[in-house]
Symmetry: C2
Subunit: 494 residues, 2 copies
């Protein structure tokens, strides 16, 4: 057997532990008995460390080395690129540090929850300090050329540096900040008062299945459940599960949760089968992942064309929209508002939230600010970006879970996802009569385009190479701005 | 650290893989996406073989040896007894044989399903022949004193031999066969025509939760789902899950499935926490397990007292019983009938089904009959026991899945479970005002008695030692006969 095949078999073996881990995670979020949770953490710990052990084994190292010498096709070359990078990184990190990181972040998460309950950042502070300390240590061990934060960024968006990112953000910010200001000051805010009401969960669930079906989500390779924080998880090939939630007072929340997670799931279901159970069979990056969910949530799901087709379904379930026109409904799902909470933000202001976090965490990791100053800095920046201030830390610095996990470097993905989605959108429009597809609700061609251009490749290409391959240029934030301006100038009459 | 503690830690580690395996199994039966099933089998295979590898490691062998030399308390002595027996057995079996067994039974199960579809035993025959061959080989390797079947029996009912079993069966049969005959020929069969109707699943589900709550099943340490074949599974401590099913035309099926599985679950939830994740924390035997489900299903759930309390709940959900008296309802859940299908059999004739299978498989394993003769022998014996004959193999020799799994030696547990449950019942009645508990629906003391006497011990005692410890005598089938006669003489007016 060729060494590359042996190597693949090793990864397939490791992936089996990954399946079990993913299933346990899914179970914990969707309905594991309350008292079982603690014990399950031990199981996750055991399986994860064994899988990690397998992944940094001498055997894998040797097989990578030997495979490199063989004649390889493009896919296998990409596989080697991915696993070699990961292997070398993982080998560098001392197991004790990994263990410490895992304990510290686990305690930090508990402290974060407590801090939120008590609305007091100080409860979280000493834990976060430890997390930041260890994260910096990790970054230094992994190594970087110019900026310590680059080591972290690369985990979520391979190849991206602070330098690139700052440039992207500068361009975006220069246009976005005045545009938001213009919208809010000169524009006419749509009426969305008719969106409040009582929405039966069962009816919302029906709508979820209808929209997922239209999108092309395959329920024989997935399922939908309820979770407090909606997410998508790939248990294994042909098993990509989504979760959603239902708010009885506003059905937009559940509907867009479903569509968003559906977008993630379509990506995972579309990765080429030949990459199954191999590291190349994972998404190109978190941002590319987010581009897919955002595409379906916003570019499809918040478009007028989509609602022209889908609105009758909603009217059928919820009588209260009987006398509301589809245009008014469309505007109501696109209200722009200054907000304190990222996860509730509209698509226009959302990126400002991400920038705020990115600026803070980059400075934190590079020792330009201290953990103890975070609440103050957070509130100042919120004032600067949104002109409003959190009334407490829960509305401010304590709102996201990410830092307690030590996921520094993750936030930019949320913004990049929006940018990628817009750049893909303009390319897709050149090749497909998108407006027609929206208005007929027939998304086969759209999905097929995404599958062919994005999904199938998994992580064969680094994200920026992928976007260049598809659109002919690297990530360009102007597309996103163009999209926002075209859409919201009409809605806000400016 | 004492060696026994090190040994326990090894088993705790192994148990973590067991948790993952159990969860995957549960998921497969309760709603994993259709297309995901095949891949999941690979995951199960990987995790199971790794867990098995850990269990027969030199390390465990050495720790057992060294622990034995330490001063041990009663619990730890029992633990050593259990793990040593298992270790020595497992070590004997060549890994290739294990692998072959797993492949052969997996194919056999597929063939069994196909044979059922085609109503043709011949499709299954060659596969079953291989399974029997390998099972005999296994039994010979494991070893036995008198009868090859003893090696198999011991896997499910530790310590029991064919000799003991034949004696039990003889006593039982001598009384049961004429009693059944008397019931059916001289008795007055109750009317149960009012049991047919349309029963909304959601209402059946409500009833399931009510009865489980009354029984004392803890939903914070478990959950209930729907599966084609109801089962109970222990994912880990504080996570004992049951499944049930709903037939829209007859609610008895789902109701008694729920109560039966609830009985199993109460056992698992009642095993002492100090045995968590250790082999001693498993049930004493399959028959003791079955005794618990049968106790709740039949002795509680098919008693007049129980229905005096519970009937209003059913009447509330299902209007059709408005004019049916509780006595008539009680009789209707206790109809005795000649039947071809074991799983649908009433509590009186059920054991006859088990005897039939036991007699056949014991003869098969000891080469007194051949696989090819099974359909003929099955049909003859059915005629002999029930006076009726299957119209095809699906109603006959193909009705159970067990042989395709190679689970020879399992069937007697079903019968022994009934016998144990009756023996426990008479002891329990001496100590608790059982009739009062039934009529008030307050089962706290009953459950507590079972917990104290049976559940908490896990497999600390071998089943017959346990029953002797509780009731002062070894397994005695007369209790079961006494129970049947007292109950059914009244119902059938004989």
């Amino acid at each position: 057997m060729k060494k590359i095949e042996e190597l693949k078999n090793e990864f397939r073996k490791i992936s089996r532990y990954g399946h079990a881990i993913a299933l346990i995670g899914w179970d914990l979020e969707t309905g594991a008995p309350k008292k079982a949770v603690e014990k399950r953490a031990e199981v996750l710990g055991e399986l994860s460390s064994y899988a990690f052990e397998l992944s940094i084994s001498e055997k894998i190292g040797k097989l990578i080395e030997e495979s490199e010498k063989e004649e390889l096709n493009e896919d296998d070359k990409a596989l080697i690129r991915i696993v070699k990078k990961e292997y070398e990184k993982s080998k560098k990190i001392p197991p004790e540090l990994m263990r410490e990181f895992s304990i510290v972040t686990s305690n930090a998460q508990a402290a974060w929850e407590k801090a939120r309950k008590e609305k007091d950042f100080n409860v979280f502070k000493p834990h976060l300090e430890k997390v930041v300390e260890l994260t910096k240590k990790m970054a230094d061990i992994i190594g970087y050329k110019e900026n310590r934060y680059d080591a972290l960024l690369d985990m979520y968006e391979p190849g991206l540096t602070v330098k690139d990112l700052n440039e992207i953000i500068k361009t975006l910010k220069d246009e976005l900040v005045p545009f938001v200001s213009k919208l809010l000051n000169e524009g006419k805010k749509p009426n969305d008062s008719f969106m409040k009401g009582h929405f039966d969960n069962k009816k919302q669930e029906n709508l979820s299945y209808v929209v997922l079906d239209k999108m092309g989500y395959d329920l024989e390779s997935g399922r939908m459940d309820v979770a407090v924080h909606p997410f998508t998880t790939t248990i294994g090939p042909n098993d990509v599960r989504i979760t959603t939630r239902y708010r009885e007072d506003d059905f937009r929340d559940s509907f867009y949760s479903t569509v968003h997670e559906g977008g993630h799931a379509l990506y995972e279901q579309g990765i080429s089968e030949k990459y199954s159970d191999l590291p190349i069979g994972e998404a190109a990056s978190m941002a590319i992942h987010e581009s897919q969910s955002r595409f379906w949530e916003n570019i499809v799901g918040r478009s007028l064309g989509f609602w022209k087709n889908f609105y009758p379904e909603v009217q059928k379930e919820f009588e209260q929209f009987k006398d509301v026109s589809v245009e008014d409904f469309y505007k109501a799902v696109n209200v722009v508002e200054k907000s304190l909470i990222r996860v509730d933000a509209d698509e226009v202001t959302y990126n400002l939230h991400v920038m705020l976090r990115y600026e803070i965490e980059e400075a934190l990791i590079n020792d330009r600010i201290k953990v103890e100053d975070l609440p103050k800095i957070w509130n100042q920046k919120t004032k600067e970006y949104f002109g409003i201030e959190p009334k407490d830390d829960v509305e401010g610095v304590l709102q996201d879970v990410h830092w307690s996990h030590g996921s520094f470097g993750y936030f930019p993905s949320y913004m990049l996802g929006n940018l990628y989605s817009a750049q893909l959108y303009y390319k897709l429009k050149e090749e497909i009569n998108f407006e027609e597809k929206l208005e007929t609700g027939d998304f086969k061609e759209v999905l097929n385009w995404l599958r062919t251009n994005v999904h199938q490749y998994g992580s064969k290409y680094e994200p920026q190479d992928l976007i260049e391959k598809i659109t002919g240029e690297r990530l360009n934030p102007q597309y996103f701005m163009k999209y926002l301006k075209e859409k919201y100038s009409k809605i806000y009459n400016i």
